[in-house]
């Protein structure tokens, strides 16, 4: 198993290098950081702009190959260069990665688990009211764009806050000012964080949930009348137990691998949520950097995303191997 994983990792590393390089080349060729510098008022002299751009390795008058060489050498030494303002990318990247992870972990896990359960439930009660309600709900969620969903949730939350008179929900940034200094001390700080986490997590979870619900319902329907579920019932298992232990367990295999891949992609896919809720995560950073023409940041975030997708692929292989003994045979 370990050898298999290492081999996979090596193969994936090649892909990651390719993806990151292409991302850098595209960003460096398409984005125009010079415009940002020239727009400053008072307008700096051309020589100063050039010197500044050269220092940041952003000068579009340097040949692309040379810039790429400088960037790649830096990346190989673990240095993603500097942002447009001259700060190191590395520190900010790490900080924002943690922000994104805090936001996404709860949402993705909750969405995946709830989606699987709802989908399985819908499949089991196919053509009945429960199934119709779940199906309708998931289609509705799929049809609503994330930013509309987020705004709707904010409106709903503000109504709840008004009605109860307590600020149950908060939706700007990660923390409110002065919460940990309040009457409850650090506990209050934690509570404040949770309060800020609820809405954006729910946004992500709902979008995930709808997707997984549909997918799980499909795979579950395939096994609902499978012979092995019938065998399990012939052994004396109740319908519910047979469906859970034998049906859901088997139907989970394709969904689990799908879950791993979507989680990898989510790292950037949460950009709308981050923007709307004022979380300074990776998605938000990427959007802002593209508008500013901040080549090094764009390349660094893309590089991280490529690594995340490939790691997700690896995780999906491991999950598949763990869940499905038939997949293990070829891997040994």
């Amino acid at each position: 198993m370990l050898v298999f994983l290492l081999r996979r990792l090596a193969g994936h590393a090649v892909l990651a290098v390719l993806a990151a390089s292409l991302a850098y080349l595209l960003a460096a060729a398409a984005l125009r950081p010079r415009a940002e510098f020239e727009d400053r008022s008072p307008r700096p002299p051309a020589a100063v702009v050039d010197a500044e751009l050269d220092r940041l390795n952003l000068n579009d008058r340097t040949p692309l190959a040379d810039r790429y060489r400088v960037w790649a050498t830096g990346v190989l030494h673990g240095d993603f260069g500097r942002t447009w303002q001259g700060d190191p990318v590395n520190g900010e990247l790490g900080r924002r990665l943690l922000v994104s992870l805090r936001l996404l972990t709860c949402g993705a896990v909750a969405g995946g688990v709830l989606g699987v359960l709802l989908g399985a439930w819908a499949a089991v009660s196919r053509h009945r009211a429960t199934d119709r309600a779940i199906t309708f709900g998931s289609y509705l969620l799929l049809a609503v764009p994330v930013f509309v969903l987020a705004v709707l949730l904010q409106i709903g939350a503000s109504r709840v806050n008004d009605a109860t008179g307590v600020r149950l929900f908060a939706w700007v940034g990660e923390t409110g000012p002065g919460a940990s200094g309040g009457a409850f001390g650090p506990l209050g700080g934690l509570g404040d964080r949770v309060r800020h986490l609820l809405l954006p997590s729910a946004t992500i979870a709902l979008a995930q949930l709808a997707l997984f619900c549909r997918y799980q319902r499909g795979t579950m329907l395939d096994v609902l009348h499978a012979d092995f579920v019938r065998t399990a019932r012939a052994k004396g298992l109740r319908r519910r137990d047979a469906l859970l232990r034998h049906g859901l367990r088997t139907a989970l295999v394709p969904v689990a691998t799908y879950f791993a891949y979507t989680s990898g992609l989510l790292l950037l896919g949460a950009m709308f949520t981050e923007k709307i809720f004022g979380w300074h995560g990776l998605g938000e950073w990427l959007i802002d950097s593209i508008t500013r023409g901040d080549v090094n940041v764009v390349a660094a975030v893309d590089c991280l995303a490529a690594a995340a997708v490939l790691l997700a692929g690896l995780a999906s292989d491991v999950l598949q191997g763990a869940l499905d003994p038939r997949a293990r045979a070829g891997a040994r």
Binding site: F4, R7, A234, G236, R238, T250
Partner: protein, 668 residues
């Protein structure tokens, strides 16, 4: 003695108005085996599921199912779950899909014990290993940790049986437990079921379409037609003196190893809605049959009952169905004077095996076909038989490729396939066509019959204005009504579909037809009709057949010559009469011995071949059949060494090119 399992007046209706079972009644005693026989659609599977309370939602059940006097129908799922798997167990048909693919087999057996007995995980696992040993799984402690896909079909069915007997049930319902298994493995599985029954004393209800399997195993037999039991009685009486025309027809439809002609039961008519449902196919129907549905009446002192209004006509069962007129063999020159249509020499096909996910490396090869030589001459049928995995289908596919084989030579109509160009290969495809096993999967469900038959004509640029006439001609040729041209495959019965498959293959007037298990998926009566059609077509069109099948009785009824394959090699080849009459190779003898014969007396003295088909990636040294050979253990040391060291080649074993690959052809 009170019956363990008593079913009376059982009705099963599927919505909206499909009446699957209409008043079935039977009783089984402790240690007794009841065989329930019928063709597909006779309601036998619905009966099995109804007894266990596992019918799909939407089915309605009436009547009574009593297990040791306790009524099971109408019990809530919770109460029924305490009975299922404990007192009443079931063995299902397809053991690959009936076992959960993601759980170890030991755990699946242990689960049965834990659900009912509340044993600890450890104790249940230990008991599971014991059960696996009981049903003859070698190295049970290790294999209990294996997953279903790592088992062969026969081994999986053993696991199913172990699961069924785990809680010492009072009764076991086995639904087609040996269908889809090789004859040799079938015999082993039935033996295991017998052992399991002796260990638990359970009553067994064996549901099957295979009259041969019932003959050697059941004490009593119940024949079902259109949801009703039409004849019931001790197995000896029913098989020797059947009184219901349907039973007589079923028994007569079975292809026989001695090559005697079958008396085909008319296959295609649907059961009548009123009166006797069988009257649409019955040769002795009288006017009253259209009005009254007959009740089962005693016909012998042994307790045999039959439901027929014209019992007088079935006094002599042999006279009910007309003996088919012997078809005069077309006047052809002797075999040696006819040109070969297909000549295969030293054909080899190995499938390389790879390991590793990203970087594959070759770790060996499956020796699917390992040097076979055969020829098929104009207007004759060569039957290719063997157990599953022996390479017979691979050989057929390799011929069908019409390309240079990895080893050896294939020549069709005198043309070496290795030398063919793209255009030549396409032209030759007109002359070589194929019919596949599964008529359900091999026809495109979105094409009408007319389009299916016209497609090969269009590909080979037959003028459009001749297509419609040719389609009608083809339908008539295979005995189908021209009105079926507008139907989709799913609107046809299995037999009709296979006839469409044959018509499609014949569309371009081929000289050689490759048939891959063409009747394996069909009921006995339908099968007899399709086989008769194939013989008739050969007589009229002079087309040669290469007929691949695992069923020796079927091959006997169509083949002029037979080749027996084992482990990628032909071990015996010769005229059908000689190979079946005086088989020279011990494997051929064992195969013939394993064929279930619909005669209750025939089971005595049968030798079952030990073990399953061998691992095709690791042929043993010397003679490949040696590990399973019944002749080998009785040989003296010197002659046994010959088997261990030297791979035998085909040697003359009789007249007319009868040859076998065994060092000890003279020995018995």
């Amino acid at each position: 003695m009170t019956p363990v399992l008593q079913v009376s007046g059982l009705h099963v209706d599927y919505a909206p108005d499909v009446r699957a079972v209409r008043g079935a009644s039977f009783a089984v005693e402790r240690g007794e085996v009841l065989g329930v026989v019928g063709e597909s659609g006779s309601g036998k599977s619905a009966l099995a599921l109804a007894v266990l309370g596992l019918l799909p939602a939407g089915a309605r059940v009436r009547g009574s199912v009593r297990l040791r006097g306790r009524e099971l129908l109408g019990l809530p799922d919770a109460a029924l779950s305490r009975v299922r798997g404990k007192d009443l167990a079931m063995v299902f048909q397809d053991p690959l899909s009936a076992l959960t693919p993601v759980h170890q087999v030991g755990d699946q057996i242990a689960e049965t014990i834990r659900v009912h007995a509340g044993a600890t995980r450890r104790a249940a696992r230990t008991r599971a290993v014991e059960l696996l040993e009981l049903v003859g799984v070698p190295d049970a402690a290790r294999l209990a940790r294996a997953y279903p896909h790592e088992f062969s079909g026969g081994m999986r069915q053993r696991v199913m049986i172990a699961m069924a007997i785990a809680n010492d049930p009072l009764a076991i319902v086995a639904d087609e437990p040996t269908t889809s298994l090789d004859a040799t493995v079938q015999a082993q599985v039935l033996d295991v079921l017998r052992t399991a029954q002796q260990a638990t004393g359970a009553a067994i209800v064996l549901i099957t379409h295979d009259l041969g399997a019932v003959a050697g195993f059941a004490d009593r037999v119940m024949v079902m037609y259109a949801g009703r039991a039409v004849e019931t009685g001790p197995v000896g009486d029913v098989y020797r003196r059947p009184r219901m025309p349907y039973t007589i027809g079923l028994l007569g439809s079975l292809p026989r190893l001695d090559g005697a002609p079958v008396r085909a039961l008319p296959a295609d008519a649907a059961p009548a809605a009123e009166g006797c449902p069988f009257r649409t196919r019955c040769p002795v129907a009288v006017a009253a049959c259209a009005v009254t549905e007959p009740a089962a009446l005693p016909v012998a002192p042994s307790g045999q009952v039959a439901a027929c209004l014209n019992l007088a006509a079935t006094e002599r069962p042999g006279a009910v169905y007309p003996v088919p007129e012997p078809v005069p063999a077309p006047d052809r020159p002797p075999r040696r004077a006819r040109p070969p249509v297909l000549h295969v020499s030293g054909l080899v096909r190995h499938h390389p095996q790879y390991r590793g996910a990203l970087y594959k490396r070759r770790v060996g090869a499956v020796h699917a076909v390992d040097g076979i030589t055969l020829d098929v001459r104009e207007g004759e049928t060569l039957g290719l038989v063997g157990e599953s995995g022996c390479g017979k289908t691979t050989a057929l596919m390799e011929i069908l490729r019409l390309a240079a084989p990895p080893g050896g030579r294939v020549s069709v109509l005198g043309r070496d396939t290795a030398a063919l160009g793209r255009a030549g290969r396409k032209a030759l495809r007109r002359d070589v066509q194929v019919v596949f096993q599964d008529p359900f999967a091999s026809l495109d469900p979105r094409m009408r019959v007319a389009a299916i038959l016209a497609e090969p004509l269009a590909i080979h640029r037959v003028p459009k204005d001749r297509t419609a006439a040719r389609v009608r001609e083809l339908l008539e040729l295979v005995g189908l009504d021209a009105a079926l041209a507008g139907r989709y495959p799913q609107q046809l019965s299995g037999g009709q579909r296979q006839r469409v498959g044959i018509a499609r293959a014949l569309a371009l007037e081929p000289r050689l037809l490759l048939l891959d298990e063409p009747v394996a998926a069909l009921d006995a009566s339908v099968r007899a009709g399709v086989l008769a059609l194939l013989r008739d077509l050969q007589n009229r069109l002079g087309v040669a057949y290469l007929f691949v099948s695992h069923d020796l009785a079927v091959v006997r009824s169509v083949a002029d010559r037979v080749a027996v394959m084992y482990h990628g090699r032909i071990v015996e080849i010769g005229p059908a009469g000689a190979v079946y009459g005086t088989p020279a190779h011990p494997y051929t003898r064992a195969l013939l011995g394993a064929v279930p014969v619909p005669d209750p007396g025939a089971r005595q003295g049968r030798v079952t071949l030990p073990g399953g088909p061998p691992d095709p990636s690791a042929p043993p040294g010397g003679c490949r059949f040696r590990p399973r050979c019944p002749r080998h253990p009785g040989l003296d040391a010197g002659r046994a060494r010959l088997c261990a060291e030297l791979d035998p080649v085909l040697a003359e074993a009789g007249d007319d090119d009868h040859a076998a690959a065994c060092h000890h052809l003279g020995a018995r």
